[in-house]
């Protein structure tokens, strides 16, 4: 159970929030371009030690996740330009927290969203309720990706920006 949970990547959680069709296509190796983000996230998930002072991991072109050690506390930071954080990114961060806490056993970890331009820090709360929500999401992800065919696409405003746009709508 725990092992298979660790197989999801942050991107999958992100895509689940965005669109189940996208989640399925991505998981079934139907990337539309050679996707470097997949590799980068895989690297993060399989990272064995967090012993260094600080690690930079690029999650995709837009999000850089920093790990900072603060005493025995580990902090995951996401740096955002504006306060408008998309839900998908927040859940991606929740998932990392879940992953580090429940699977890696690192209890002393928290998430932060930094807004350098506004000199503000938002602490991402992680609690049992969110933990249960993440577990539910993982269950959903498992169901969706084990379908034989991708879920039927449904048109949303996001589609226009999506790499699968042509695939879904041609």
């Amino acid at each position: 159970m725990l092992l298979s949970q660790a197989l999801f990547t942050g991107t999958q959680v992100n895509y689940y929030i965005v669109c189940p069709t996208k989640l399925w296509l991505f998981t079934h190796q139907l990337s539309m371009e050679a996707s470097s983000e997949y590799v980068e996230i895989g690297k993060f998930i399989h990272e064995k030690s967090y012993s260094r002072e600080r690690k930079d991991v690029i999650i995709d072109e837009k999000i850089g996740i920093d790990f900072i050690r603060d005493g025995d506390k580990l902090i995951i930071c996401e740096i955002k330009k504006s306060k408008r954080i998309e839900k998908a990114h927040r859940y991606q961060l929740y998932y990392y927290l879940y992953y580090l806490r429940k699977i890696k056993g690192i209890e002393n970890v928290e998430g932060r969203i930094l807004y350098p331009t506004q000199r503000e820090i938002e602490v991402i709360e992680f609690n049992e309720e969110i933990s249960r929500e993440i577990e539910k999401i993982m269950e959903e992800i498992r169901k969706i990706i084990s379908l034989d065919e991708p879920p039927k696409p449904s048109r949303k405003s996001y589609c226009k920006k999506c790499a699968y746009f042509e695939f879904c709508w041609v």
Binding site: H28, Q29, L30, S31, A34, D148, E149, P150, F165, E166, F167, W169, V170
Partner: protein
């Protein structure tokens, strides 16, 4: 946007650091040609030649989407690895303008799942015939669009149109691939025989391949080879397996799926170019070299054809389903996506038919 590059003359590609040079003898006039915004222009390349009789030009790597090599060009391994790193396929063509081979970049989109499903559609006779039918159907429909166009222009093509329309009705009755191939052959030869009515000059006679024996055959072969290479590149951008084909036998060529898909696009991307070049007197007898039993486009002729072809590829059209503009070249890619969806069981494949 990246461009296709066509090298028509003989020379050498060499690499120094991260720059690739084309070295060639000075005597000929043209090196590269590319189409930018519908207007032909020489691509700006730095001239750093030092020897009197040779010239060196820089290949603008960031601008190249693929290289089409018609001259006799030698490449060093350094060049090959650099082109591969930059994801640039290199297509080689033979003396007759026939397709010879492609050097593919090493990065590939792979999907075990797609691979298996595509193979399953080949192995099952029913599934294979279904797809093969769609290719013949697409080809016939697009041929009809061309004929109907010239019918409206006042040519009497009624007989050919009825024949091909009837033939396309019998596609569904075909039991196997060999019947389909025979039907498709009959449609094509009827179509080619109509060229004499459509075209102002040049006699069609009969289809001759390697070598082509008259100017029309030379153009058809040249255009079909060019299209074949273009399709290979588009397939390469998807998870499809180039070697598993449906109408043609997979053993026929290394990239036999491209043969299948090409059938659908020949009327739009090759035949229409020929009609235009001939009827507008852009190409004439003096753009061909005739030898004992062969006829070839000369360099000037190739240049004219390539310019027209490149312009066609970049022509855009508003896509009905996507609601956005796509280039003709992109239509080929979309066709590949439709096949992917068919193999995955998402949506039955319907061939592209000219809708404008």
């Amino acid at each position: 946007m990246k461009k296709n590059f066509y090298i028509l003359r003989n020379g050498k590609l060499i690499r120094k650091g991260n720059t690739i040079y084309f070295i060639y003898e000075k005597s000929e006039e043209k090196v590269f040609s590319a189409e930018i915004d519908g207007e032909e222009m020489e691509v700006e390349t730095e001239d750093i030649s030092d020897k009197q009789e040779y010239e060196k030009r820089v290949l603008p790597i960031e601008q190249i989407s693929s290289l089409f090599i018609y001259g006799r060009v030698s490449l060093t391994s350094g060049v090959i690895s650099f082109l591969s790193k930059n994801n640039i396929p290199v297509h080689f063509f033979g003396y007759y303008g026939n397709y010879e081979s492609t050097l593919m970049p090493k990065e590939m989109l792979l999907s075990g799942e797609m691979h298996i499903k595509q193979a399953m559609h080949y192995i099952s006779q029913d599934k294979r015939v279904f797809i093969a039918k769609r290719f013949v159907e697409g080809s016939a429909q697009n041929i009809l669009r061309n004929l109907e166009y010239y019918q409206r222009e006042g040519k009497d093509l009624q007989e050919e149109i009825s024949y091909i329309t009837n033939a396309s009705f019998s596609i569904e009755n075909c039991k196997d691939v060999s019947q389909l191939l025979a039907l498709e052959g009959a449609i094509r030869s009827k179509y080619y025989s109509s060229f004499n009515k459509i075209l102002k000059s040049f006699e069609f006679d009969e289809r001759t391949r390697q070598p082509p024996e008259n100017p029309l055959n030379a153009m058809i072969s040249f255009g079909n080879s060019l299209l074949y290479a273009t399709v290979i590149k588009q397939i390469y951008h998807t998870q499809l397996d180039q070697t598993i084909s449906f109408l043609h036998e997979p053993s026929e060529r290394r990239f036999s799926l491209a043969l299948d898909i090409s059938e659908i696009f020949k009327p739009l991307l090759v035949d229409r170019i020929i009609f235009k070049l001939v009827n507008k007197d852009i190409i004439g007898e003096d753009h061909f070299v005739k030898e004992l039993n062969s006829c070839l486009l000369n360099n000037k002729g190739k240049e004219i054809f390539l310019r027209e072809y490149d312009e066609k590829l970049q022509t855009t059209i508003k896509h009905r389903d996507l609601g956005r503009n796509v280039s003709y070249e992109r239509l080929i890619y979309l066709e590949c996506l439709k096949l992917c969806k068919h193999f995955l069981g998402i949506k039955d494949y319907k061939p592209f038919v000219i809708w404008w």
